[in-house]
Symmetry: C2
């Protein structure tokens, strides 16, 4: 019997290896994926599209679980989600809350600061040699 | 014996009633208060100043604990922190991580989106009747 904590860990590991189809297989058809600064993404196909989109530019994905906790079917983790893009690590501190039902993840909420992501992403995407005049 | 979960709940309740001195009495002298989008605030006096500053404009404070979890000395909660400012509720989804040592909170990390706060705050602070020309 796989515990909710183990299911969430498996899911995170599959994200890191970009095995998106295997990761999606751990989700309930009614999955709601809620990046708190934006609108919820509902259903496995939509979650797949979003994950493919934001993992795409990353040559390496390293989502470190700093600490975690489970209460019944709910799992909490504190993470540092790292993306290697154009040879530079983008680091995003996140707190995640997951709910598991019938062995599948049915709710995934990530709390983070969008500005922390965007500031790094813009810098990484800026053409090199672009210095103030 | 008060559990870490109970200490964190007491702390949140004292924030809601704006009993800041009683809230600060639950903190360890080495408290690190980390709003993840910004720099850590260290020490009881500094935390007191920050709390006084951002609770100040609120006529009511309602920090709802949506769910929570404890693993040893670490407490996780998912919250909706609400501030009534100029007669309007500002709602901020937050995930908090607290560490308790010797009955006092020594680490308090809040994960949230600064843009979600600032957008609402700016709107509330905007002079009324200010419409596009």
């Amino acid at each position: 019997m796989t515990t909710p904590l183990e299911i969430v860990r498996q899911f995170i590991n599959l994200i890191e290896t970009k095995e998106i189809d295997l990761a999606l297989a751990l989700l309930d058809p009614n999955i709601s994926y809620e990046n708190m600064p934006t609108k919820p993404v509902v259903g496995i196909d939509n979650v797949g599209r979003v994950l493919t989109g934001f993992l795409g530019p990353a040559s390496q994905v390293d989502w470190r679980i700093i600490s975690e906790c489970a209460a019944g079917d709910t799992v909490y983790n504190e993470r540092l989600d790292r993306f290697m893009i154009n040879g530079v690590w983008l680091d995003l501190p996140i707190a995640g809350v997951f709910k598991v039902a019938g062995g599948k993840i049915i709710l995934w909420r990530d709390y983070f600061d969008m500005g922390t992501y965007m500031t790094q992403f813009s810098k990484i995407m800026k053409p090199s040699g672009d210095e103030p005049a």
